[in-house]
Symmetry: C2
Amino acid sequence: MAAMHLVASDPLEAMTAGIFEAAGTPADLAAEVARHLVSANLAGHDSHGVIRIPAYLQQIESGRLAADGRPVVVHETAATAIVDANRGFGQVGAAHALQVAIGKASSAGAGVVSIRRCGHIGRLGHYAETAAAQGFISMIVYGNMGPGTGLTAPFGGARRHLGTNPWSFGVPSGETQPVVVDFATTVVAEGKVQVARAKHAELQPGQIVDKDGHPSTNPEDLYAGGMLLPAAGHKGYGLSLVASLLGAGLTAEEVPDNGVGAGVVVMAIDPRAFGALETFTATIDNLSAGVEAVAPAPGFEKVLLPGGPEAASRASRRANGVPIAPDTWDVISGAAAKLGVAVAPLLA
Amino acid sequence: MAAMHLVASDPLEAMTAGIFEAAGTPADLAAEVARHLVSANLAGHDSHGVIRIPAYLQQIESGRLAADGRPVVVHETAATAIVDANRGFGQVGAAHALQVAIGKASSAGAGVVSIRRCGHIGRLGHYAETAAAQGFISMIVYGNMGPGTGLTAPFGGARRHLGTNPWSFGVPSGETQPVVVDFATTVVAEGKVQVARAKHAELQPGQIVDKDGHPSTNPEDLYAGGMLLPAAGHKGYGLSLVASLLGAGLTAEEVPDNGVGAGVVVMAIDPRAFGALETFTATIDNLSAGVEAVAPAPGFEKVLLPGGPEAASRASRRANGVPIAPDTWDVISGAAAKLGVAVAPLLA
């Protein structure tokens, strides 16, 4: 593998925003998308970072993604709302929905917001981190389902029917880092199967099945019609199903007749509705410190809080720059140059 | 194993209510606990059914459980509340909290309710079923944590620190059965390790570790200071942690100084806040039917919706009676006789 380039996060974010502005996105929305993508790189989740720029540009060109789509609240009650993302950037729709949910939580104690006509919302943990930084508990869930949808079989099934249908939760804290949980409901991400395939390596048992539903450890089987398995069997399947039923059910305008549905649901809870914020955050601090103090198992250095690896990556990459593979960089910087946007300088 | 006794569910419920009334529980609360326990038996979850009667009687005798503890709302906003269960039956506290959450959801669109000073709340799926039958989406979570708490190690840890910290979700439907998800965040329930130990059988790898955190398949190791592992590693750990942080954080009156916390959180969402109920339930029906139509994997008869096995068990046991092991029956019927309560007749 060629050595990675290093780019400082601020110029990378400015370049990313510039690219989307040049492609027709209003400045405030472009800034939101750029902030989200570079924040995913900073957190160490490069699969949800600037590597997505070319695909988004292509979706704008094909008309699938409305570069200037601005989310609006189309229906609301004291503690709920429906946001229509108007086929715009998912990061913009979800960031808006989160602030609507936080507004509801501020006034009513809790807020549940669904999002219609929304592009790819990126890394779910981003919203949980944002809510925690504002002092709110959050839950973010995205689900899609239907015959041939995604790469995942339902528990006991032998057909692709579910997306990776991730869940994320954020809990604000005082002095310890906020707890941010963010996971796909499959055993492994498809990206890891790709990596094993490229290396001609075997997978661990229990991660995939072949096209007929037989257990397999051969990554090729996934790409020959095979399926990812839900994490922890019926448990991950249950979470995946609830994600897509809520996503589809709370955004439905018409009843589907083909078993296909998808959507996003964002929830916020104000700890202040349950007592003093300081009591809540100090309780989280004490309990979190207790978990971190648990003696590690053989092979582990220490017990980590969910969100800990991301916080460590953020500190390191802010200081040292974001690593980007040369071929990815060529595509992104090429797109910037073509659109007349200043290319961020390389640190290395 | 001796043949199981069979008892019709209605007389079993009457006998159970009679026992708790005789032990000092007001009639309405005793009826709630009895309904919950027998409903767990009907659903096929005998570990959360009438087998618990002797332990509850013992807790009443020792003063740990207040037989007449009646839950009250001690604080509320438009979409949230805190219920104090007054050290009464958890089933009573949680049933009350669920109705408070449903009331909030009816008026504000969503409701989040935490429960303080609450006994064992039994089978979480019971509340999700109840909410779904009333037309509400629900989430129920219980968590406890702290040094030496429960049998579960945090991911990467080698000490007992977490309970089984279960999650449950319910989604109402129209003509298909409601989807009810209910699972512990450990790979296996402790009861299954007990069964393997009694049979001198090996466990599957990945379910437990020994007292030093080394992988083990010997059930004896769990009882020699070993630990259950979280389901799907860091994913189950994340859910377990969020369960206990929310449970403790949203019920805290004082900040703990020892890393110990616990509590229950119940949430309800009114689908009507997002559109016509018929659109929601027909969408769920269509998506659920689509999942059930997926071709089964080898070794499976069909793809089941979560909650399906419980519905099948309920139909069968209502018709044929609830099976109860003779030694369990001896203890329960003995307690009834001692308290002057009529013993339900055996069907077999």
